[in-house]
Symmetry: C2
Subunit: 382 residues, 2 copies
């Protein structure tokens, strides 16, 4: 049991010296004092209701995986202090007399296939994720019509600082989100723009375009307007090759050779990356899985000699062609660590070059993936 939850009524807390260490979370709607977080990995959440009989908080594995009771100060201010948090971003919500409610004080993040509250716990010593006084790129909402689905889709596209002023072409990194999230996750929960800004400013990563599209192949019933969400990797590959990549290479100053194309994705996006990039190594030279759901679709049972369009049939050729095959995961997410380790072991035995990374002390949550991005991006296009 890594976490110990302690319940402290607000009145007691306000009187204690330790309260001084708490700061408003950066994920709060501006103007809200609570939630607060501390550098020793605690958080205080608060919900106001004069009529509720029971209020609990619940969230991601590194925050409050099971509901934790909150305490009413008698004035309708329900609060609790959580400790032993893991760093970075966690989803959370309240259970107010059993009804799941978002925190009105939190920005809404799209997770669990619905708008969900989020809290940035502290991340001591990891300032690569902060907005710093360095040149900043922009993230663009780019709409385009899919020839595959007939629907308008929205990509988020990061262009690095200097893109507008220059004439150079840039390599392109396709970065995929996970299940129940969407194309905005990487820039909002993952703060990918600040991570890339910092890496590029320090000369650790090459300036690159980063494309974040939706991992769902939505189609519409024309009679009812109902959108059918699908995670079908085949259709998504179709959308990448027929719509997304051509759209990016038409509208942006993108290099178009395979050595200038990378793809990585988290969880479901990692599974999709294997199906799209690893199955098409004539088009991608850098391939990454961040907590990749390699077990999806029974993939762990497949014969790696023939899987992924025969990518590994000739290991020597693969090693020459693919400049990077990389797997990262959080130490606390056993199924994903095991999936990556299993794949890495098999591939290594076959003579395929693979790199791997473990994010210490993190679960299947965004901080694992922010760290993966920080590790992975510097290896691209060099």
């Amino acid at each position: 049991m890594r976490k110990i939850f302690t319940v402290v009524a607000m009145l007691m807390l306000c009187a204690s010296a330790s309260a001084q260490e708490f700061r408003s979370a950066i994920s709060n709607v501006p103007g809200n004092e609570y939630p607060k977080v501390s550098n020793d990995m605690r958080a205080i959440v608060r919900y106001t209701s004069k009529t509720a009989k029971k209020v609990q908080v619940q969230g991601g594995e590194g925050f409050a995986a099971q509901p934790v009771d909150m305490v009413n100060d008698g004035q309708g201010n329900w609060s609790v202090e959580l400790s032993g948090l893991t760093p970075g971003f966690h989803y959370y919500w309240f259970l107010v007399d059993g009804v799941q409610v978002n925190d009105p004080a939190s920005v809404a993040y799209f997770g669990y296939s619905r708008p969900t509250s989020g809290i940035y716990a502290a991340y001591p010593g990891e300032d690569y994720i902060d907005a710093k006084d360095v040149p900043h790129g922009v993230v663009r909402e780019q709409w385009y019509k899919s020839s595959v689905t007939g629907l308008w889709r929205r990509a988020y596209i990061y262009t690095p600082a200097g893109y507008d002023e220059g004439k150079d072409k840039y390599p392109v990194f396709y970065l995929l989100h996970g299940m129940g999230e969407n194309e905005r996750g990487w820039s909002l929960q993952g703060r990918m723009n600040f991570i890339m800004d910092n890496l590029i400013a320090e000369g650790k990563a090459k300036p690159m375009i980063v494309v974040m599209d939706c991992g769902y192949t939505d189609t519409m019933d024309p009679a009812t307007g109902a959108i059918k969400r699908s995670t079908d990797a085949g259709s998504l590959a179709d959308i990448y090759f027929k719509d997304i990549i051509p759209m990016v290479e038409k509208n942006y100053r993108a290099k178009t050779d395979r050595d200038s194309r990378a793809m990585a994705g988290l969880s479901m996006g990692g599974f999709q990356t294997m199906n799209i990039a690893l199955s098409n190594t004539d088009k991608f030279a850098y391939i990454g899985g961040f907590s990749a759901a390699l077990m999806m679709g029974g993939r762990q049972q497949v014969d790696l000699k023939t899987a992924y369009n025969g990518a590994f049939a000739n290991p020597a050729e693969f090693n020459k062609k693919v400049k990077l095959l990389w797997f990262g995961a959080g130490s606390e997410e056993k199924a994903f660590v095991d999936a990556a380790a299993n794949m890495t072991k098999q591939l290594t035995e076959m003579g395929v070059k693979v790199e791997s990374y473990i994010s210490e002390g993190t679960y299947h949550e965004w901080h694992t993936w922010s760290r993966c991005l920080k590790e992975f991006a510097p290896k691209l296009f060099k």
Copy 2:
């Protein structure tokens, strides 16, 4: 009483022919069938709970200004049909045994100073707001550090189709949001990018850069990290002149003469526009108020001969200098119609040229402002 609410259990509704006319709302999280809307201005909302004893829906004035009871089909599917809606976007939420809950099936829109559900009712005959097969601009998330507040701020900046390919400089339209909303409101709730794309493609509006920044002058307590939200128009003017306008003119191919600068805002943003642009007509040539809160800060009591930095002291000079002073409002929002009419009447009597517009049948809601944008943007930079 413009609206009649009728309660229909889902089982009855599914058996009726009229249900065929309902389509999933475009504001739904993809994959959700409900809410549904019809072209005869009805909507069906739905919430699932097997344990709730009472579920109600409430929202914007043109939707369900007072709570409306929903009916349980016996399986935990609570629903209600609302009729007589006004067109376009409305905020809404559920009251589940009295607890305010967003609809997990709706995209979260930032309104009422918190993430809030939203529903696009139909808008028959008003396709200017739709994504069409025309060249599309992009909306960029542009971070910059404010010299006034010391904090990082996020602007949303629309660049029109062709911006990346060309070398031309563009005029700039500063477009402000309302109270309790933020810099993303115009592109999300207001669909301003599609409105501008369509107007520009049809040759009705000039290609322009549109800058949407935050209308709050947030500052941070360094000891606690708490953000203080302020609507102070003076500080906001400072941020515009010291930070936003220089940032835009440095980072974008922006024309920098006053004839190439416009500002308009909705509600609180309209009040701020008067304080920023009307008080500085040496810097802005086009000025608009969309349901402008002209009554804020007791402005309606002021002497127009001296107000706004003496802008109207010499009407003939004002008419020569300011190419457009424009007020729009929705016919159903009396206080704002009256404020605009009062100002227009006084100014006209003084000999100041003013244009005005009434959006028929709409309240203090986004459809009024989308229509205002459609009317106002074509008048700029000509």
